[in-house]
Point group: C2
Chain length 252, copies 2
C-alpha cells in the first residue's frame, strides 16, 4: 500500500510560525493531508467584534455569531493563506471544509449538561473522494468545520477530524497520523524534554498508566491515538511541529 | 459538446435571498459552476472592525487588513454557506478560490494613478482541472479571490473571474455564461422592465450604441460579454437572479 501522511497542526503554530511550518510540511515526502486549527485567531476576531468566547472543557461554545466567526477564520483566513502558501511551495494544495464535496458530515451534538451550539460530532467521511484527490496529487488542507447535510455548517474539533480523515484513508493507504504539539513527544518526565518515550503500544500504555507516567490530558490523547490504530491507521506520531519527525509513535 | 452553465451572482443576492436563489440554481439542469460576490458583507464586517472601505470606480482598495476581511468573507462565510446549502440540495458542491488547485492565478495590479493594493488581474485559468472537476459531477463554487503564485491572495473582481472561468471552459464545453442582475435584462427603456432587448450581436451593439439605447455602465458590461463570446463562450445571458433565464442574450 502506498504511504500517506495526515498531519494535524494546531492554531498556535499556524498563527505564530506559519511560514517555517509550511516549509517543513512541503518537505515531507509523498502523499499528504494537512488538518489545521485556528482557535486563537477565532477568539481574537470574536473579541474585536464584541463577541464573548466561552469554552467548556477546552471546547468552544458556538452560537450562530460564533459559527460565523469560525467559518470566516477557519474556512477563510487560515485555510486560504495556508493553501496559497503551499501553492507557492509547489504543492497542489486545495482547501476543504467537511461541507465541500460532502467530505465530512457530522451530527450536531445533542444538548446535555452543556449546549455547545453549532458543534458537530463526525458521522461520515467520504474517504473514497479524499483518496481520489490525493491520488491525483492534490494536497487537501482541511479546516475544522463540517456540515449536517441539511445546510448548516458545524464547528468540529480538529484532532477528531484528523483522526477521522486518517481512519477513512486507512482503507486506501498505509497511513501515518501525526499530531503536532509544542512538546517533542510524550515525556517520561514532564520537566525533561529529552525524556521522550519513543514508542507506546496498547499494552505499554496500560503499564504507563499504572506507573502514573502518563496522566491528565495525555491519557485521552493516547486513547484517541490507540483508537485510530485499532481502526487501521498504521501509526500515530505525537511530536513537535518544529521537527515533524521523531517524537512518540503509538502502535498496536 | 456537452453544455455547461457558468452563473455569476452578486453579493446583494447571496446576502438577501440566498435560500431562494440556491433553490433556483439547484434546479438548473446539467453541469454548472457558480461564481459569487459578497462585497456588502465585506463592507459590513470591515465597518464592525473599524476598517474604512474605500472604493475607486466601483473597485475596492484592498490593503492588508481589507485583504484579510475579504478572505474571511468571500473565501469563508459566503463560500462555505453556499456550499453547505447546495450540498443540502443534493449538489456535489465544492468551494474554491483561485489559490485552491491553482485554479486562477493573477498578477497584482500595477500601481498607476490609484494603488488598489492586494488586487489581482486574472492571468491564467487552470481550465483542464475545472473541466475535470465538473466532469466528475462536482459543482465548483468560486469565490472572488485569486493568488499570485508567490503566497499572496489577491482580491479579484467576480465578473472578471466568471468570464475567465467561462472562457477557460469553452475549450471543453458549450458554455453559457449568465450574469445575474437586479434588472430582467438590458432594457430599451430603463424605466420599463418589459422593454428587455432579447438578443444583442456585435453589429447590433454598434447600432444600439449609435442610437444611444445603451449607455453608461451597460456599455462595458456588453463589451465584456462580447469579449467572452469572441473567446469561444457560446452565449452570455444578462438577466435577473429571480429568473435565471430569459433576459438578454449576447452572441457573436
Amino acid at each position: 500500500m502506498e504511504k500517506i501522511n495526515v498531519i494535524k497542526v494546531g492554531g498556535k503554530i499556524v498563527e505564530d510560525t506559519l511560514s517555517s511550518f509550511l516549509d517543513r510540511f512541503a518537505a515531507v515526502e509523498g502523499l499528504k493531508v494537512l488538518v489545521h486549527g485556528g482557535g486563537r485567531t477565532a477568539t481574537s476576531l470574536a473579541s474585536r467584534l464584541g463577541i464573548e468566547t466561552r469554552m467548556v472543557g477546552g471546547r468552544r461554545i458556538t452560537d450562530k455569531e460564533m459559527l460565523d466567526v469560525v467559518t470566516m477564520v477557519y474556512g477563510g483566513l487560515v485555510n486560504k493563506n495556508i493553501v496559497a502558501g503551499l501553492q507557492a511551495r509547489g504543492l497542489d494544495a486545495a482547501g476543504f471544509t467537511g461541507a465541500d464535496l460532502n467530505l465530512i458530515r457530522s451530527d450536531r451534538r445533542p444538548v446535555g449538561e452543556v449546549d455547545y451550539g453549532y458543534v458537530g460530532d463526525v458521522k461520515a467521511v467520504r474517504a473514497e473522494m479524499l483518496a481520489s484527490l490525493t491520488g491525483m496529487g492534490v494536497v487537501p488542507v482541511v479546516a475544522p468545520l463540517t456540515h449536517d447535510g441539511r445546510g448548516s455548517l458545524l464547528n468540529t474539533n480538529a484532532d477528531t477530524m484528523a483522526a477521522a480523515v486518517a481512519k477513512g484513508l486507512a482503507s486506501y493507504y498505509d497511513v501515518t497520523l501525526t499530531f503536532c504539539f509544542e512538546m517533542p513527544g510524550v515525556l517520561r518526565d514532564p520537566e525533561d524534554p529529552s525524556s521522550v518515550i519513543p514508542e507506546i503500544t496498547a499494552s505499554g500504555f496500560e503499564e504507563l498508566k499504572a506507573e502514573a507516567v502518563v496522566s491528565g490530558g495525555m491519557i485521552p490523547k493516547i486513547e484517541n491515538a490507540l483508537d485510530a490504530v485499532r481502526a487501521g491507521v498504521s501509526r500515530v506520531v505525537i511530536t513537535s511541529a518544529d521537527a515533524l519527525e521523531g517524537g512518540t509513535t503509538v502502535r498496536l
